[in-house]
Symmetry: C2
Subunit: 211 residues, 2 copies
DNA sequence: AATTTTCTACTGGTTTTCCGGTAGATATGA
DNA sequence: TCATATCTACCGGAAAACCAGTAGAAAATT
């Protein structure tokens, strides 16, 4: 693999960005741009027959979100390594891209030499970020660490059972408690999360990493 | 910061690991081990008064999960950078640690020089992983990419509103549709996810990254 | 143009959740 | 020992979700 040509594809909705990246990379030894696309659909069409070792992927596209496209590409072309290239600098977005299978993330102000380094590292099968992204990721924001409901042991146990789709009656049977007891716990959980129903509570709990 | 002594704390439930790490690091210039703990509680007690620039954190502890401890430490001591040091090599676990605010992750078989490099990089405010972890992260498993329900545009729209805690009547009002239409969409969503109710559907949707 | 998919809306009913509380027993902490 | 927190259980009822379908219109695809 080392010494082989890296086949690179790029998706970005701005032609100027595509032009700029091509110019930036044309001097890079061992990197060949095999396709550039302005939207998700063209990229997907290319990948069903074409080949890309590395895909530089913007997150904001006209016909799909980069998150959805990332997940879809990893499904149809698992060997393609995806590097997000985006102006989105929120830590949560970076984590979501990783969750969708991306192998790395760079902000659009990345320098040429760093861009090339990241492309090479991704090609080597390594998770890779530009330095700016590594700094962002090492700094969880205050919002992300905002007060998360402190659940008692029993509450957490019941929350997990609710998440498994169990009804109040089922949970009562499993824990050998009265359904009215479970109803009280549910009520308390909704109050702790400040949510009107289970749907919103599940979202909050998962986003806070309580499950 | 560069040239300053790094105050390092370590949490692991195995005394032999604590001993081994101390031995491994005692020759490292600029790294001072300020505390070692065998459980979550002792570590938390230390951090309420003591100080650690970097915390090496095992995930399996006798009195708490490393995930919960990570989140809790970041809340009481946001400046402390946390590096997970674990035998857990699943990509999902790594992502969860990042979500709880960790600045990096290493497997326990990490070499001494790499361990020291990661400690230094974390101290510099950078996200950092051992090479083995970078390789794992760049390789989403097949299970993670398993078939995810394909939602229509309208279904996704309604799913997001459900996740925001809206009732059928509220969603109907917002979208100018009949509540009966929304009920049909809900039924179809439950069938696509194969879940008995909204709670389980929310869990599945979030874990698949559909939101 | 024909077919398929998506979206819309409906029936009549059952099940489940949510509401806004009260309150005693047990466990835990100071 | 005392205070606090957690867990347990209850009231009566309204609101909401879930069930198992049918079915036509519009949009999208072939």
């Amino acid at each position: 693999m080392s010494g082989q040509t890296i086949h690179l594809a790029i998706v970005d909705d701005h032609p100027l960005i595509l032009e700029g990246l091509q110019k930036l990379l044309e001097g890079a030894a061992g990197i060949e741009i095999t396709g550039t696309f302005g939207n998700a659909q063209d990229c997907l069409a290319f990948l069903t027959t074409g080949r890309a070792d590395i895909l530089l992927l913007d997150i904001t596209l006209p016909d799909a979100s980069g998150l959805d496209l990332c997940r879809e590409i990893k499904q149809i072309s698992p060997a393609t390594r995806i590097l997000a290239l985006s102006n989105h600098s929120e830590r949560s977005m970076i984590l979501q891209m990783l969750q969708q299978g991306a192998s790395g993330y760079m902000l659009k102000n990345v320098a040429a030499d760093e861009l090339i380094r990241c492309i090479r590292e991704a090609h080597e099968g390594l998770l890779t970020f530009s330095k700016a992204v590594r700094e962002i990721m090492a700094k969880p924001s205050a919002a992300e660490l905002r007060e998360i409901p402190r659940l008692t042991k029993r509450e957490k146990e019941i929350l997990l059972l609710i998440a498994d789709g169990k009804t109040t009656a089922e949970i009562a049977g499993m824990l050998h408690l009265s359904p009215l007891t479970i109803e009280t716990h549910r009520k308390n959980l909704l109050q702790k999360f400040g949510t009107p129903n289970v749907a919103a509570m599940m979202k909050a709990a998962l986003q806070h990493g309580l499950m």
